[in-house]
Symmetry: none
Subunit: 129 residues, 4 copies
Amino acid sequence: MIIEVDFSGDIPIYTQVRDQIVIGIASGQLLPGEALPSVRRLAADIGINVHTVNKAYAILRDEGFVKMDRRSGAKIAAMTKEDGPFAEQLKSRLCPYIAEAICRQMEREDFQDIVASLFNQLENTGGKK
Amino acid sequence: MIIEVDFSGDIPIYTQVRDQIVIGIASGQLLPGEALPSVRRLAADIGINVHTVNKAYAILRDEGFVKMDRRSGAKIAAMTKEDGPFAEQLKSRLCPYIAEAICRQMEREDFQDIVASLFNQLENTGGKK
Amino acid sequence: MIIEVDFSGDIPIYTQVRDQIVIGIASGQLLPGEALPSVRRLAADIGINVHTVNKAYAILRDEGFVKMDRRSGAKIAAMTKEDGPFAEQLKSRLCPYIAEAICRQMEREDFQDIVASLFNQLENTGGKK
Amino acid sequence: MIIEVDFSGDIPIYTQVRDQIVIGIASGQLLPGEALPSVRRLAADIGINVHTVNKAYAILRDEGFVKMDRRSGAKIAAMTKEDGPFAEQLKSRLCPYIAEAICRQMEREDFQDIVASLFNQLENTGGKK
DNA sequence: GTGGTCTAGACCACG
DNA sequence: GTGGTCTAGACCACC
């Protein structure tokens, strides 16, 4: 799985790394139990600093996406369905986007189509590699 | 229309102000042609720095939500439907959230329900004040 | 309030800083709403790196002891009583110490006396300064 | 007696092994004079590195919990009551926990109850196996 | 070899 | 002036 970052944009690099790994998990490119590359390795591959990767991994760990194994680095965690708090936070983060969509006279169906297409895109990337 | 900001939390205050004004427009609390409070006035009301409000207004202007008039301050603009670039940008910003939803085993329908409920909430806040 | 760290011990400096601030709060030397020194200031005072203080503050924030205010640095938070998860974790962390106490034939009363004396020491340091 | 370790989590594995053996002694599951499993055997059972078990045993020896015999391996030692230095060290290690308990508004009695319940739990696990 | 800690210095976003 | 981000390099603990 390839991770690429945009150095010019205003999204922090560690966030980009975090996001892409989450996308990798969602699309089945990264399976539960699978080991992530070591921080040094990934940092070298992407061409960024070790600490930046470290921060991304720490966030993923705090969010429950990966488990840090003392022996062999980071592994994808098996997640449990517990979307109560997530749904709440999702709502507050989605709100400004939907408000903007309404202002720009985007139809509700068009918005839902975008959501659906992203679900399709991620769910049908297909299993491992 | 009341604007409230969270001084802790990691969303910049000027973004919060921008978001809430966009939400105000979407919900019909702020109508096209209506004047926004002056920069100084709003800053005093919320208890934040004048520069911060200024930045929020400048962003809203750049995004086309308001028109700045040197004499009479800021007014809500009438927006035209041009959702091409917005749809693209929306897609890339929504992607990480949908990926996370999949990881947390949220059903596609539940996600769409949240979107629908936000649309309802904003569209039915009712007209002016 | 004075913070001192032991550079030779094996307790990470950021942990020592975190611990001493928690002790400061418990003893009433730091009151809810009170501002902590800026990371730069505290780092200079103690003679350690800014990032080390930063990490200590980030942990205190994650644990709910302080709130980061975008405008003016860190403030002591007002804590709510919610000791369910804390009690659990306390139990697992205390267990090895109590096991060792039993092995060393320390009487249960002696252990509880130590606990009581620490409670007294912290609760009677007296209010502000 | 079963020893289990948590490979995620921030407690070093050798510390976990050391702790569980101390708990085993305190609870009477391991009696003075009894032989511990060989380093290789325990390492294989738990699925960890031999060096890690070795380090745990060395610490237990330095702390006086076991005696190492070149021929017959490690044996549980008979401990003498000398709680002076231990009490001091205990006090400094307990202090941050009690400070946190006060901050979280845990009652002193609740803390003492936890201590008491741990004492009971360990002392009443019952004699040998 | 792994990640964790600490240091140092630079730049930026925010207010 | 505040904290946040990123980089760079060193050392250590752990396995």
